[in-house]
């Protein structure tokens, strides 16, 4: 039986000891989120995820969604779980109090998301997409639309979707064909087909609010001619209650590698009634507002899946008896030693552990700064915080999902053949993790976003928000002998990152393809350096607690994992730097016909 226990101890460590979680309540609008309330939320979230959502994870995967007569049935238990989820107020956690939300910090919401992704990623896509729709409407819709839709999205009686992709266009949204014809009453009639629409149709809520990218008549070519529309499945009557069925319908379900309990729909808009959100032709702006929030959330999916996979791998490695330790028998009373004793198993487990704990710190860092960006009273601080979030969003998305995929694969490997069969649940994590590297902008697109947009913005101002604190930390701590084992490797990786950054920026000026060729490796170099910084700080925070003050060995394990990271994972930056410096010629000169 797969297990999952929310890692509350580590979450609280990162939140309170590393990321100044107690400072959240000092931000205007977050006053109530002191440690008492936050801890209560986390405890309750853990209970929900462990006892309600996690038990449906494997069954949901086995059963999948069913498409019958134009409607979609979610797997057994999902509807009931969603009712509990909604009644518990979880749909409103990070929403604006003006629309019935609880106004929780992004930091708290991120921890909750992680638990939900560990417990049941498929389930999480339904409220996740609703939240994306909420963000776009909240940021850009008219007051009338907000008054009508937001309270229902916030309280979870309605859910939402984002309808972007079409059969012929995914990443390149400029090619969108779905059209919106203005009607005399101010509404629009939408025509077109959208694919890969998560939660496009299901039986969890009484209405589904589709946010649809489409073109107005005579719109300019490309992304400058795309507008955003709100298209409800059921047209709200005057009083806001569901009225007539709108001309939008699910045409089929996709058959997927993973997240099989998430309904991925083809949606047909056949003259469906919609209303413009924001200004004509400015749909991409609202879409990106949603997308940026979602990209952080998708990164957390990789983290959550890595965590649950790691927990199961550790449990299995303790139980499973095979062979004897190379250093001599460890369990003479048993037929064989637990596989936990074997170096390669320990390598896999520590790699997974370091990935998960490091990524949690990175996700929380981004979320914590996002809270500053949203709530800090000083506009200069908000600007600086927003710069940082802009910069690290692609890193969080791509690094956490890539490492999440690596971690879940290690989780299968630790199980051996038992990881490859379905009963133990480990292979599901791999399949579920795979999509996170693809959707909300493939990881290749994230890397291009980092080097093409974020790096050159304002002559590197976004970079400053990361490079200066890290450089300052290295300068301040480099003379501390206790930290030498951590700050030394960090400084080395940071130097590589500086050099790679300057090189890519310079080469990219004259040959953009060089920046493109270096992008993925650069994102990983950036990400691993960021993790090294966080591991150094985690070690620094933990060192004073070693010994008597550390009865459960939490801090000892933290410092040990930090050492492992510095010695066994961070050296990957050397290879990445070499790949980057080599340039892209071998790829770009390769003849197309020879592929």
């Amino acid at each position: 039986m797969p297990i999952y226990k929310a890692p509350l101890r580590d979450m609280r460590f990162v939140l309170y000891e590393l990321m100044d979680g107690d400072g959240l309540a000092a931000l205007p609008g977050l006053e109530t989120f002191d440690r008492t309330l936050t801890d209560a939320i986390l405890d309750e979230a853990a209970r929900l995820c462990e006892t309600v959502l996690f038990p449906l994870n494997r069954s949901g995967d086995e059963e999948g969604c069913r498409f019958e007569n134009g409607t979609v049935a979610t797997p057994a238990g999902f509807a009931e779980a969603y009712r509990l989820f909604r009644d518990g107020g979880w749909t409103s956690l990070a929403c604006d109090p003006a629309y019935g939300g609880q106004g929780a910090p992004a930091t708290v919401a991120t921890l909750f998301q992680e638990m939900m992704c560990s417990a049941n990623l498929s389930f999480g896509t339904y409220p996740g997409l609703s939240h994306g729709a909420y963000v776009a409407l909240h940021g850009y819709a008219s007051d009338d639309i907000k008054a009508l839709y937001l309270p229902k999205l916030v309280d979870g009686t309605w859910s939402g979707t984002m309808c972007l992709t079409e059969p012929h266009c995914g990443t390149d949204l400029g090619l969108i064909r779905t059209s919106a014809e203005p009607r005399e009453d101010g509404s629009y009639a939408l025509f077109g087909t959208k694919i890969f629409i998560s939660a496009g149709e299901h039986d969890l809520t009484e209405n589904i609010v589709h946010l649809v990218l489409a073109r107005l008549p005579g719109a300019p070519k490309g992304t400058a001619g795309i507008s955003l529309f709100v298209v409800p499945k059921v047209l709200p009557a005057e009083d806001g209650r569901p009225g007539l069925r709108n001309a939008v319908a699910c045409g089929s379900l996709e058959h997927k590698m993973g997240i099989r309990a998430s309904a991925t729909c083809l949606m047909n808009f056949d003259g469906a009634t919609g209303w413009l959100v924001g200004e004509p032709h400015k749909g991409m702006r609202a879409m990106f507002a949603m997308m940026n929030a979602e990209r952080l959330a998708v990164g957390v999916q990789g983290l959550g899946l890595g965590e649950v996979s790691y927990q199961n791998a550790v449990a299995y490695a303790r139980d499973r008896l095979q062979g004897r330790s190379l250093a001599g028998t460890k369990a003479p009373d048993r037929p064989a030693d637990p596989i936990l004793v074997h170096p390669d198993v320990r390598r896999m487990l520590l790699t997974a552990r370091a990935h998960v704990e490091g990524c949690r710190a990175l996700a929380l860092w981004a979320a914590r700064v996002l809270d500053d960006a949203l709530h800090h009273p000083d506009p200069a601080e908000r600007q600086a915080a927003d710069d940082f979030v802009q910069l690290v969003t692609p890193v969080v998305k791509a690094l956490l999902t890539d490492l999440g995929f690596e971690t879940t694969n290690l989780g299968v490997q630790v199980f051996g053949g038992h990881g490859y069969i379905r009963e133990h649940g480990q292979e599901q994590h791999v399949r579920d993790a795979r999509i996170a590297q693809i959707y909300e902008g493939t990881n290749g697109i994230q890397a291009l976003d980092l080097v093409g947009r974020k790096m050159p913005a304002h002559a590197g101002r976004y970079l400053r928000r990361f490079f200066h604190p890290v450089a300052g930390y290295i300068e301040a701590k480099s003379a501390d002998p206790e930290l030498a084992a951590f700050v030394g490797p960090l400084a080395k990786a940071f130097g590589r990152l500086q050099q790679a950054t300057a090189t890519i920026a310079r080469r990219g000026l004259s040959r953009p393809e060089e920046a493109g060729a270096a992008a993925s490796e650069y994102l990983h170099l950036f990400g691993l350096t960021a993790l090294a910084y966080l591991w150094a700080r985690m070690a620094e925070v933990s060192l004073p607690h070693l010994g008597a003050a550390d009865p459960d060995g939490f801090y000892r394990a933290k410092v040990a994992t930090a050492r492992f990271y510095m010695e066994r994972i961070l050296p990957r930056t050397g290879a990445l730097a070499a790949q980057i410096m080599a340039g892209g010629r071998t790829m770009m000169d390769f003849e197309d016909a020879a592929f």
């Binding site: 300019p220 304002h458 002559a459 590197g460 101002r461 970079l463 400053r464 490079f467 200066h468 890290v470 450089a471 300052g472 500086q498 950054t501 300057a502 920026a505």
Partner: protein, 774 residues
Amino acid sequence: MVEDIRRVAVIGAGVMGASIAAHVANAGLPVVLLDIVAKDGDDRSAIARGAIERMLKTEPAPFMSKAAARLVTPGNIDDDLGLIADCDLIVEAVVERLDVKQALYERIDALRKPTSIVSSNTSTIPLGRLVESQSAAFRRDFVITHFFNPPRYMRLLEVVGGPDTRADALDAVTAFADLALGKSVVRCKDRPGFIANRLGIFWLAVGVAEAAERGLAVEDADALIGRPFGIPKTGIFALIDLVGLDLMPHVIGSMAGALAPDDLFHRVNRPVATVEAMIRAGYTGRKGKGGFYRLNRERGKVKEAVDLATGDYRPERPARVPAIEEAGRSMEALMRHPGQHGRYARAVMAATLAYAALLVGDASDEVDAIDEAMRLGYNWKEGPFELIDRIGVDRFTALIVEDGLPVAPILRTAAGRSFYRVEGGIRQVLGLDGTYRDLVRPAGVIMLADVKRAGEPVLKNGSAALWDVGDGVACLEFTGKMNTLDPDVMDLIVRAVPVVAERFRALVIYNEGSNFSVGANLGLALFAANIAAWGEIEKLVAAGQEAFKALKYAPFPVVGAPSGMALGGGCEILLHCHAVQAHAETYMGLVEAGVGVVPGWGGCKEMLARWQATPKHPRGPMPGPMKVFEIVSTATVSKSAADAGDLLYLRPRDGITMNRYRLLADAKAMALRLAEDFATPVPPDYILPGPSGRVAMEMAVAQYARLGKATPHDAVVAGGLAEVLSGGDTDLLQPLGEDDVLALERRVFMRLLRTPGTLARVEHMLETGKPLRN
């Protein structure tokens, strides 16, 4: 024989007359400025006197220095016309009325000395009419000198002689305009509008009419008829706002009245109701309450633009012209771009270039004269025939044939060829007779562009090059974006010094960009700062210090030859030269404080040495550093080369060249003079005041801060500057060497660069081109 022009009179103290007088004074010549007797008040010369006073406050300044203003003697025609008796040139710039001018000429003729030359600044009256009733002697000595506004800054001078004008009068005026006034003289025939306005007014008229008739937004029209054709971004409408809408009907009317009935001008000269209504309502452009664009102060300084269809103002918006990008850099693709914007670009530019071709043999026989007139009179980057060459003569001809425009004979002559070509490294131009002739520079003119066309550089990298400009002189050219200075420039300097020492006698630092150098490459520096590459940045600072020191202590003379802006590092390199030959329009300054740092490439060091050594200044360790502090903390930029002398950015032995074209030759001559008995300078010692001096400087800044004239970060930056200029922790007994001051510069530079206030300043400068006051 060409007689020297040593004294000048200008009659008519309107905007043009007064500014012409000011520019004569800029050349260092005494000038009499006369206007009619003032009606009111005791001062009968109040009009001319008032014009001089006004000019001292005008921006852009007609005078290059206050000293120049003192060379202008005001007067009135009734009492002081006798002053013209010892003038060699008498410039008439009175109202454009034939009767007034003719009457004035008679009075002038009675008083002037026999060898003097009389010129008119008319732009609309034919020379023949002006002199029809004058004496034969007057007709021999009479020319038209058509200045462009503002005369100090516009480099074009159109000179027209009549059938009776003596050749040496034309030559004398030309030489005077060239050498003393720094003008590029284009000889024109006595035809309406001469060259530049004949074509320029045609272009503006067709630009307005087509935009109105095709329903274009003025922003889009200006974007189209601007950068894509190498024309200033003011395009059509913003340019008319500058010139004045009310002047247009006057000039257009005089041209329409004087041109033959079959002239193409009549086809494009169509009345535009909106424009006529605007002029009637007093919307005359920038000088009035607004024009096609205006700043609506009632609505809190909202930028607005006119809707050409209705005549109403609406908020100004950014141009939206996808055709420009879709055309790439091809002018032809833009003119053939389907859609309203492409058709507009074509309607305006095809007609304008076709008309330019029709002017050959009419307004001028030389296509290069027409090109020069448009480059210097309208600031086009390339003249009409250079533009046609770029499109291709045959492709252009095909285009205008499609449009039913007349094909000028010169286009037929040029068929299958181009107007310009390079033969054996020499640029040639096509003549009316169908043969090419060499474009020969006048004596005393060397253009680096010619040198570059003819040969290969001695050294070169991505940001600088070293050229052989003859007679044993090498020329260091900056080639980076806006001639910014970066590690490559420093690298090339260090490599150049031994090469020049071995193979040349002297080095000139010169380039033909619109600005000598705007200083360090800030984008590069900011990016490096943003990624905390402090070590790299400090290395670059040190490299610059070493490179400039290598120039200063080179075994050969180094002459800097700036024109336009020489800011920050661009100023510092000049401070290290043994002498500077500056174009009169040189704007020098250590502007580092504006971006939140101190001069780090030896600028502090050189300025301290200059102010410490100047004999005019009080002695002692304090006055010199204090003066440098004043200049550098306020990022003072000279308003001209003459003004730079007051700041000691330039020294008395440095030279000033009025004509941009003569700068390299003058600098080269100076370098060769210096090479005759060159001795490497002796490094100075510095006696600096130390901490007590620093406190005095900081108190001065604190005072400004209290008055609200210095911002919080100004105080931080000034504090750093005070530390450098006072010599750090030195005391009066201990002289510092150059390297000590350089180390201080580096230390403070690096410290300031790490502050958020400085990073914000650099970023703001990069993104807006303006200093941030934080």
